[in-house]
Subunit: 279 residues, 2 copies
């Protein structure tokens, strides 16, 4: 038992999974759930993802050694700052947001003494809600833990250990490195999947097969959550989109000039990249 | 038992699955396998996907009421024409290629009396080889059966019944309609998945999660097979790519002008399309 009280702010898919994982692995004596949605709190309680529910963020954060914010990226900094206005200085605050730079800078600028460490478990889904939460969501996944010039070494260590206790491996990089990387590995793919789904003529729905469904699966993600992510990581996504547009233009050129040898080389290079990732 | 002898030309993933499905459902007395690769033929025999193997295409086609060509799209027309130069006029020839217009036109122009019906079971995979063949590959899937002005009604009916006996539902459209539709639902998605995989910096491999892997899964498909598909359906794919490029430009514009309300609308419209397709 590493933690006396663990507070989870936002008990959706990720927050609920943090609770279930912490329970199964016995890493906290008590788990408090905070959410503005009463139905979600009740459901999290009934699933056993939290032990107690509350609407009092400040009190719940004050009593917790670790508070984890599992919220849309555009709500995290504000909620962390609201929670840290009072309470012991050695409490740890972490998050699970898909962007890191703006969140971290906002918190560090407004509250330099807060022990905040920005985190991102790469374990999302197009699904939402505590009904899809899973105790093993973080097992054998990678969690990115971010470090800035201001990050306290013991806070970084504690955050790293938290995710490891939930079954995840951890990589420590800067918030800026995180956002540049995720622009390629997550945010641009979402934009592309959305573009592809968006242009499908409705008459062709029945003529889609597993390839189309795989390629567009993430386009089912929540538009509000994703708009916030794009807003936070606008520049890096635009940069990644420019790289993709160049690549698409090369592919288009091979097609339009019937240069099949070059097209084959382009497809082969991409296949090698994809094969290296596994299924 | 509907068919005396069924000949399968090309015993890879699709050909092997046709054999396994025909066996399980007892629709042919004898299944002959043709392939230029001896190891593949031996493996298809050992898996029970075929009863006998042969390298003599003409003889195997002559003795079969139904011959199905499960080959790369750029080999189908030539092999059908080679097989139909001799033999009873009432034998049925079908294929499983991912493009239909060029194949059908070539065969109809060179051999107008051949009872050929171009087919496409929407049941592919990025995997290859008879080791991945499955007896239930066509169950609850859709097979497109194509009809031209020259298609004999009884040949169309026989081809339709063949796929239904393997567990598939059938839709009859023209080869041109097929190719225009598949440009959107299969060929463009492949190009996009390949573009996205192709630009991933190798240092970011470990930072990909299920979203990236879903979106790029089909990029692992065989480059040779796909180059041939793009070559056959060049114009329709270029048309679909132009539609996608416009959509990407709209998304890029929302990002670059920070027009989050419009971006949210665009993501929402695409989500609705994707939600309608199911998982």
């Amino acid at each position: 038992m590493e933690i006396g009280t663990l507070t989870i702010v936002g008990v959706g898919l990720i927050g609920g999974s943090v609770g279930l994982a912490a329970k199964r692995r016995g890493i906290a004596r008590r788990i408090l759930g905070i959410d503005r949605n009463p139905a979600r709190l009740a459901f999290a309680l009934s699933r056993g993802a939290i032990d107690q529910s509350s609407y009092d963020l400040s009190a719940a954060a004050r009593s917790a050694e670790v508070t984890v914010f599992c919220l849309p990226v555009d709500e995290i900094a504000q909620q962390v700052l609201a929670a840290t206005s009072v309470g012991p200085a050695d409490n740890l605050f972490i998050d699970t947001g898909s962007t890191k730079t703006l969140i971290t800078r906002t918190i560090e600028a407004s509250s330099p003494t807060t022990r905040f460490v920005g985190c991102h478990p790469l374990a999302g889904s197009e699904k939402q809600g505590v009904e899809h939460a899973e105790a093993d969501l973080f097992e054998n996944k990678l969690t990115i833990v971010t470090k800035t010039a201001s990050t306290a070494p013991d806070a970084l260590e504690q955050a790293t250990r938290f995710w490891q206790l939930l079954g995840s491996s951890v990589r420590v990089i800067s918030p800026e490195e995180h956002d540049a990387a995720l622009a390629f590995t997550s945010h641009l793919p979402h934009l592309l999947a959305s573009a592809l789904a968006g242009i499908l003529p409705p008459t062709l729905n029945d003529l889609t097969a597993s390839g189309f469904r795989d390629t567009t699966r993430i386009a089912a993600g929540d538009p509000g959550l994703w708009t916030a992510i794009f807003s936070h990581n606008r520049e890096a996504v635009l940069d990644a989109l420019a790289v993709l547009s160049k690549r698409l233009e090369c592919l288009r050129n091979s097609l339009s000039t019937s240069d099949w040898a070059t097209l084959n080389d382009q497809l082969l290079q991409a296949k090698k990249v994809r094969d290296a990732l596994g299924s």
